[in-house]
Amino acid sequence: MSTHSTGVRDIFKANGSGPVEYRRVYVWEMPVRAYHWINAIALTLLCITGFLIGHPVKLGPAQEAYQQYWFGWVRVLHFAAAYVYVFNFAARLYWGFVGNKYAKWKNFFPMTRKQQREIVDVVKTDVLQVKMHGEISTGHNSLAAFIYFFTFLAFCFQTVTGFALYSSVSSSWLPQMFKWIVPLMGGEFAVRFWHHTFLWFFVTFVIVHIYLAFYHDYIEGRGTISSIVGGWKFDREERGR
């Protein structure tokens, strides 16, 4: 608690006298960044159009049906974005096997003791706010990666239920592959209900994800936000190396 008494002047003094070195590390390769932004755009489109499909808004004065097609376009956009999102996700899964160590699939399963300890550390930093500058991995921190694993499951769920619903309006092989889901889940009522409900998982995820990205940018101080644009982060150089 002694640090509470540190004044602004002391901070500058401390800052000026400590030569801490940082090393540039290329963390997010181009395919990972491309995946992130394509996914972000597709997901945003899917959430907005998905919500509109559930709750069509009233547009302008009533007209004849042949004069407009806006709800049709909302649905077309939803289906097109869904295809982009699915193949983009498939590409990311592939990159999980051939990408660098920060992109590897192993990151998303906290199997090692090191990862498990880091999860506790990140909870202390993010939620309890008691350990403000612990050692956090340069790539995904273990807790974030583990949560991404659940979002991947949610991606799969939305893909499967989405294509199952789409199979009634498309004879294409891809949606037809998921037609059997409908009777399994007890009819299209249920599929539609759960597909719609999971929209809110993504809304919640996006809120927390964006906030924590900013929070970690601040708390770690090594370019978390800019890393998803340029790919570089900064690692503190250990002394004596």
Binding site: D10, M132, H133, P183
Partner: protein, 362 residues
């Protein structure tokens, strides 16, 4: 031993011309081209009247009511004559032991030849005591009759999927017929099914001697292959985004899409918009009311009728997924905002701590 269909019709006083008319309509109902009518005539001249056993379990007899209201009088009339309805709790003349004897005789004499049609679900809780006919449970009656049937047809939502009595928590353990018998069951769901669909299905079996092509839920593809939504005359309004906002507004008067009024047309597979009801007069959406999805499995648990998304389980009647989702989203935003405030309050000490540590290390 049995009469042919032609013989039976002659006895009833039908002319040859009416017989040919019936054959042509039957061929059309079975999905055959007009050139195949000759085959149908020849088949009906030689084919014996197929015995039918019509069993009622947990149901309201609405399917029977629908069946006798088919719109092609000649088909309806002739079909009821053509079929040898050996057992039907509702329509048969005998009662008591005489009725049971009729059933036993059919099973014995027409082994493997009779058509079994079932109306209603079968209770399975407490050994099935919730539905008894002639001192025996519905389940044992069904198993006995189904064992030697040539074909089994499940009429309506109850026999096909369990029906309203299977609604949560399903106290009697009401089950679909297809779960209780060994042979394949043709499901003709709906509450009730469309009369003309029922007629066509029976005709198909009569004419071709086999059930029509079925989908993965055992429903005849020709009638349950498309959504009510896709054949609905109000569909252009859906794509244009023109919706009825309340039942008494201008849009309702103009006949816009009923999607926002909870219409289940987009998730319901049936032929309502094509065949319509009551001799092709109308169907629910045409009458200004949304589809309630009565031919879909589980429609009874996917209410309310006036919301197109079901209520969220465990959160009260009026809460949709969106109410719950919005609450979760707002709570998350509040949490994030609180976190940001706490972080900012502690900002000075955090900065100082980090700098102090850097200083120490260097």
């Amino acid at each position: 031993m049995g009469q042919t269909i032609w013989q039976s019709m002659q006895q009833k006083g039908y002319s040859r011309r009416e017989f040919i008319q019936f054959c042509t309509t039957a061929a059309a109902a079975a999905g055959l081209s007009s050139s195949a009518a000759g085959q149908v005539v020849s088949a009906f001249e030689k084919k014996e009247k197929p015995p039918v056993v019509w069993m009622h379990f947990q149901e309201c007899t609405g399917c029977s009511e629908s069946f006798i209201r088919a719109s092609h009088p000649i088909v309806a009339d002739a079909l009821l004559d053509v079929l040898s309805l050996n057992y039907s709790e509702t329509l048969m003349a005998p009662s008591g032991f005489a009725a049971e004897k009729s059933l036993d005789d059919t099973i014995k004499n027409s082994k493997g030849k009779y058509i079994l049609v079932v109306e209603g679900a079968v209770p399975t809780q407490e050994n099935g005591v919730y539905c008894m006919v002639a001192g025996k449970t519905a389940k044992s009656n069904l198993e006995r009759v189904a064992a030697d049937a040539a074909a089994v047809i499940a009429w309506g939502a109850c026999a096909s999927f369990g029906g309203v009595q299977a609604a949560k928590p399903n106290p009697t353990g009401a089950q679909a017929i297809s779960r209780l018998v060994n042979q394949p069951v043709m499901n003709v769901p709906g509450c009730p099914p469309i009369a003309d669909v029922m007629m066509s299905v029976v005709t198909h079996i009569l004419v071709l001697g086999r059930t029509p092509a079925l989908d993965d839920q055992g429903r005849p593809k020709e009638f349950y292959g498309r959504r009510v939504h896709d054949t609905c005359y109000r569909r252009p309004n859906y794509d244009a985004g023109l919706f009825v906002e309340s039942f008494d507004d201008e849009n309702a008067r103009k006949g816009y899409c009923l999607y926002k009024m909870g219409c289940k047309g987009p998730v319901t597979y049936n032929a309502c918009a094509v065949t319509k009801w009551n001799e092709g007069t109308s169907y629910p959406i045409q009458s200004g009311h949304g589809c309630i999805g009565c031919s879909e499995a589980g429609f009874w648990d996917n209410g309310p009728f006036y919301q197109h998304l079901a209520s969220f389980p465990g959160f009260g009647i009026e809460s949709t997924a969106d109410t719950v989702g919005t609450a979760v989203g707002v709570a998350t935003l509040a949490g994030v905002a609180a976190h940001a405030i706490v972080t900012n309050i502690r900002k000075r000490s955090v900065i100082a701590e980090v700098h102090a540590e850097d200083h120490k290390e260097s």
